[in-house]
């Protein structure tokens, strides 16, 4: 393992973190100016949303309090300054600290996404290993299941799962509860389509690995089918799926917006949806920033995992080896 860790030099991690700071700055800037494009007066939103009857004096007072009367550039700089110190501002609608709000919601969403990713990997691995080396029919069944799973939209899958498991069968709650049972349907909703995607790339490289000369060499040493799979082929099959997992995690968090809403589950996704509905700009920016941060960290993690699983990438990028 020590040998494996040296494949991930600190300089690589440092460079990636530097890149992450740049991406966060870009996200903050983009969201700051994009939010300005939303029609309507932010002061009105603070005082109860558009259409509410507010006096010009109240509006002016709010503008002064939130700095909305300053030039845009000054507002931008002061917002950047606040973000740099980790201050995400105050929610217009909930009148609480956005940082605290986001933190309280983050755990639930992360749990949902991590569990979904793990379950998707499990399904994909099971399907890929079951359907290869078992003849044409199994291969076609496996590939068909993957395509169908990958094509399922979250909202349809969620409602179908609720109808089957809650309404007809009655074994699982239709809305998210505090215990583990409440997690099953939301996790399945997110994991099944992702398992379809991961399974497709896994099976393709699994088939390639099983037909490669090094697997023939392993068999010629007397390696069993299980040994071939675990010692050689699965590692090759996992490589593209690991690279895909960074992207997959991002898609899981955006999928969480729909799933948390359907299953009435507290989390970042639902907070974001609520905030957009009432134009709660600081919450929107806060959630977007945190999601970007999580996405960046996840990408770095998958890159590190790729390097650990495939030593060749490390030597190619640093120009060593060969």
């Amino acid at each position: 393992m020590a040998e494996a860790l040296t494949r991930v030099p600190l300089r690589f991690v440092a460079r990636r973190l530097g890149g992450a700071v740049f991406v966060l700055w870009a996200v903050a800037t983009l969201t700051f100016f994009a939010v300005r494009l939303i029609p309507g007066d932010p002061a009105e939103a603070i005082l109860g949303g558009p259409g509410s009857q507010t006096s010009p004096e109240a509006l002016a007072a709010v503008r002064a309090e939130y700095g909305l009367d300053q030039p845009v550039f000054v507002q931008y700089l002061s917002q950047l300054g606040r973000l740099a110190t980790g201050d995400l501002g105050r929610s217009y609608a909930l009148n609480m600290d956005v940082g605290a709000l986001v933190l309280s919601q983050l755990g639930g969403t992360l749990l949902l996404a991590v569990l979904s990713l793990a379950v998707a990997w499990l399904f994909a691995l099971l399907l890929a290993t079951w359907s290869t080396g078992r003849g044409r029919l199994a291969r076609q069944i496996g590939s068909g299941l993957e395509i169908i799973a990958a094509a399922l939209p979250h909202f349809w899958l969620a409602t179908t799962l609720i109808v089957v498991f809650s309404v007809w069968w009655g074994v699982l709650p239709p809305i998210s509860t505090a215990d583990a049972r409440g997690l099953v349907l939301p996790v399945l909703t997110l994991a099944i389509p992702l398992a379809g995607f991961l399974g497709q790339v896994m099976r393709e490289s699994l088939v390639a690995a099983l037909e490669s000369p090094f697997v023939l060499s392993a068999r010629a040493r007397g390696e069993s089918e299980r040994g071939v799979l675990w010692r050689h082929a699965l590692r090759h099959a996992a490589l593209p799926a690991i690279s895909l997992s960074g992207w997959a995690f991002g898609s899981l968090i955006s999928g969480a917006v729909i799933v948390e809403t359907i299953f009435a589950r507290p989390g970042l996704g639902r907070s974001l949806l609520n905030a957009v509905t009432v134009r709660d700009v600081p919450v929107v920016i806060g959630v977007v920033m945190v999601v970007a941060l999580v996405y960046i960290l996840m990408t770095i993690l998958t890159d590190v995992a790729s390097r650990l699983a495939d030593p060749r990438t490390a030597s190619i990028r640093t120009g060593a080896g060969g």
Partner: protein, 569 residues
């Protein structure tokens, strides 16, 4: 290695491997068998070479010996026994106990035959893990011994590396070490030296020789008679799933009986003088005008300055350095100068990494040199801007080793050639084809000896030889005066290689082409070249006429290279 000489179990000359009437079929029962009725014996300490072209059934035979012909194969035989014990109809678990212990397999291309993600110490140690109860530390110690015995000095240095981090020779040794870890009495080696440089090939053959001398029975599968002649005691020639001739190496090479054996022997280009045909004339293309056996108009000494007619290609002091991502620099070509006289062939020979292909790209002006110049027919070439060069590009054609990759897979042969005839300007080939275009395409096909029936095929539906002919036809479409051939026959069977070499020879005479012929294969270079330049580490270390270089090599590297060339005994 601590492998003692094999205990003389059984009688001397006991059959380590015995095969009787082996038949292997794929697909429908009753369909044609890939192997139909093969019988042979290999004694302990003997090397039997099974030689044949691709599709002859030699690899399927090799794999059947390990019960690895595949799940779709139907393997039947009257007898198949390893060390006197029948292995016919063994269950899969029983086979697994024997593989690696009673019989080992060495494949071609160690880069792909060792798991690229695992260090070789674990790959080799796997045999020990599967068949012995040694603990991990003992296994590692044993692996180091085996590596050292396989000719890797300082095995500790290499054991932790993966196949991609080793040189071609090192990883082929590691692969052989993996097959020999348990010292199996029978070793099956399927093209173990193919695609290796000649000097490395010679070392690997030397290693196999030592293995045989220790008493291991070796079945050596190869397409190359010259390679096997060095270590095989007996040769079996396979053709269409049958052994058509078998005998001692000497007898098969000097007194071949079967036409297939004679054809393969005639096709080997080593030591065959220039202009001798390597393949029998085909029906499609007859011998053409009689060979011009006279000496060529004095192809001036390669290095001499050039009074007289301008050279087809003149390279003066070429240099090219490639920069790595982190400031590392690799000087691929260093002060390379040569002259390709008009109508002649200059062969550039060298091992992988010697800078041959970079030189070809410089001559084609696909890569700009850091220093030096290439002149074409006495006029500037590499010094021109690409815009000015474009008008003269038709003068230079090129053919490559991986010709399939150089075709658009969706185009038919007709479309590929129409595009080439039309030149680079039109964006799409004329579907209907003008009368002139069709005639030009037909003429090209005739030139390269392809039947017009192939016009509607796609490249993937052609054989390797046919593809290379289409590649040559495409290169000829612009009526070039110079043809750059970069390893044009390296991926071909020896008899197909012979046909392509004959074709290039004929085309050169008919069209008065100047050929720059690049190859790692000294036999091919000797056969096709008027002048030869030997490349090593980016430099030309020796130049001269083919006769001079091959009979009186001056540079030590050339001598080492020539000593490694496998020859028919």
């Amino acid at each position: 290695m601590t492998i003692s000489d094999r205990p003389a179990s059984g009688s001397p000359n006991a059959s380590a491997l015995r095969v009787r009437n082996l038949r292997v079929g794929f697909g429908h029962p009753g369909g044609d068998d890939a192997v139909s009725g093969v019988s042979f014996d290999v004694a302990t300490g003997e090397c039997l070479a099974i030689v044949g072209e691709s599709g002859s059934g030699k690899s399927v035979t090799a794999r059947s010996i390990l019960g690895l012909a595949g799940s779709t194969a139907r393997v039947r035989a009257d007898e198949l026994s390893l060390a006197g014990e029948s292995v016919l109809g063994l269950s899969e678990p029983a086979w697994r106990r024997r593989r690696g212990r009673d019989v080992g397999l060495v494949l071609q291309d160690a880069l792909a035959s060792l798991d690229p993600l695992r260090p070789i110490v674990r790959e080799i140690g796997d045999s020990l893990r599967l068949h012995t109860d040694l603990d991990p530390a003992e296994r590692t110690r044993r692996v180091l011994e085996v590596l050292e015995a396989a000719g890797l000095p300082d095995p500790q240095l290499y054991a932790g590396r993966r196949s991609g981090e080793l040189s071609g020779g090192q990883r082929q040794r590691a692969l052989i070490a993996a097959a020999l870890a348990l010292d199996p009495p029978v070793l099956v080696a399927d093209e173990p030296t193919t695609a290796l440089d000649v000097t490395v090939q010679a070392q690997v053959l030397g290693l196999l020789e030592r293995v045989r001398a220790r008493g291991t029975a070796i079945v050596l599968i190869s397409h190359d008679l010259a390679v096997v002649s060095r270590i095989a005691d007996r040769i079996a020639v396979m053709h269409d799933g049958r052994i058509v001739e078998t005998g001692t190496t000497n007898k098969v090479l000097t007194d071949p009986r079967h036409p297939e054996t004679r054809r393969m022997l005639a096709a080997v280009p080593v030591d065959k003088p220039r202009f001798t045909r390597l393949a029998p004339a085909t029906a499609v293309r007859d011998a053409g005008p009689p060979p011009r056996m006279t000496e060529r108009p004095a192809a001036a000494a390669v290095t001499a300055a050039a009074p007289g007619p301008p050279a087809a290609i003149e390279a003066i002091g070429l240099a090219k350095t490639f920069r790595g991502p982190h400031g590392s620099a690799h000087q691929a070509v260093h002060e390379v100068s040569f002259r390709l006289a008009r109508g002649s062939t200059l062969g550039i020979v060298g091992e992988s990494g010697s800078g041959k292909t970079t030189t070809a790209r410089l001559v084609l002006a696909l890569t700009a040199p850091d220093a030096g110049e290439v002149r074409l027919l006495g006029e500037p070439w590499s010094a021109l801007t690409e815009k000015d060069r474009r008008a003269r590009r038709p003068l230079v054609g090129a053919i490559y080793q991986d010709v399939l990759a150089s075709f658009d897979p969706r185009l038919s042969v007709r479309e590929i050639l129409q595009q080439a005839v039309a030149g680079p300007t039109p964006a799409r080939p004329a579907r209907t084809g003008s009368r002139g275009g069709a005639a030009a395409v037909a003429a090209l096909l005739e030139n390269v000896g392809l039947p017009s029936a192939l016009l509607e095929r796609r490249p993937a539906e052609l054989s390797g030889g046919q593809r290379q002919r289409v590649g040559i036809a495409r290169a000829l479409a612009s009526r070039p005066q110079v043809l750059i051939c970069d390893e044009p026959v390296s991926a071909l069977d020896v008899s197909v290689q012979a046909q392509v070499l004959d074709l290039l020879d004929e085309l050169q005479r008919e069209l008065d082409l100047s050929l720059l012929f690049i190859s790692h294969d000294l036999g091919v270079i000797q056969h096709v070249s008027d002048e030869v330049a030997v490349m090593h580490d980016g430099r030309i270390v020796e130049t001269g006429t083919a006769t001079e270089v091959f009979t009186a090599p001056a540079h030590p590297y050339t001598r080492a290279l020539l000593a490694s060339v496998p020859r028919l005994v």
